[in-house]
């Protein structure tokens, strides 16, 4: 698919969003900040994989995006349970 300037700008914005989230993921003063950054990054990456499918004109990447979203959600919930600690 040939891109026009609007689509190039849209993909550049998605890349910028990923970079900003990655900066917070690296800087994050404590573990919860990194966990929140990882949650946000996973959602942006899921939408970005749908964009990759459009870019390459191949619907195979939509399945990749769906499975990535499921695995990221499970990982985030598991990490949240882990930092919550044991129940009384």
């Amino acid at each position: 698919m040939s891109l026009n300037p609007l689509e190039i700008a849209a993909f550049a914005l998605m890349g910028t969003a990923l970079l900003l989230g990655l900066v917070r993921f690296g800087l994050g003063p404590r573990t919860p900040d990194r966990l929140v950054a990882a949650d946000t990054l996973s959602v942006i990456t899921t939408a970005g994989l749908a964009g990759v499918a459009a870019l390459l004109a191949s619907p195979l990447y939509l399945d990749v995006a769906l499975v990535y979203g499921v695995l990221a959600f499970v990982g985030v919930v598991a990490l949240a349970r882990a930092i919550e600690g044991g129940r009384q």
Binding site: M1, N4, L6, E7, A9, A10, F11, A12, L13, M14, T16, A17, L18, L19, L20, G21, V23, R24, R30, P32, D33, L35, V36, A37, D39, T40, V43, I44, T46, A47, G48, A50, G51, A53, A54, A57, P59, L62, D63, A65, L66, G69, V70, F73, V76, V77, A80, R81, I83, E84, G85
Partner: protein, 110 residues
């Protein structure tokens, strides 16, 4: 059709950037959860609508991905916030931040 798809793609990218900027700029982890969840959910859904307008034959899988994002992102962030609160992270307040600022620079703040 192509123009509408481009507008939705741009809107999605813009809201994802705004959400990431909020994630970077907000003072507290709870504020960061808000920025990272609401704005990025809107941005991701708008991006998916843009992809669906570019390729209308993919609507079923895009609907699955969009519904999944719409379902799991609030659940995930609520679970993170609940875990943070239960593990003892207290919300940020303006008074504490002013006290910390005046403790670090007493002659400027008075």
């Amino acid at each position: 059709m192509r123009l509408a798809a481009d507008v939705f793609l741009l809107l999605g990218g813009l809201f994802c950037v705004l959400g990431s900027l909020g994630l970077l700029r907000m003072p507290d982890v709870y504020n960061r959860i808000q920025a990272g969840t609401k704005a990025v959910t809107l941005g991701a859904l708008s991006f998916l609508v843009g992809v669906g307008l570019l390729y209308p034959q993919w609507w079923a899988k895009l609907l699955c991905i969009g519904g999944f994002i719409l379902f799991t992102n609030p659940v995930g962030s609520s679970s993170i916030a609940r875990a943070l609160y239960l593990s003892g992270v207290r919300p940020w307040t303006v008074r504490e931040s002013r006290a910390a600022a005046s403790a670090s620079a007493p002659q400027q703040r008075g």
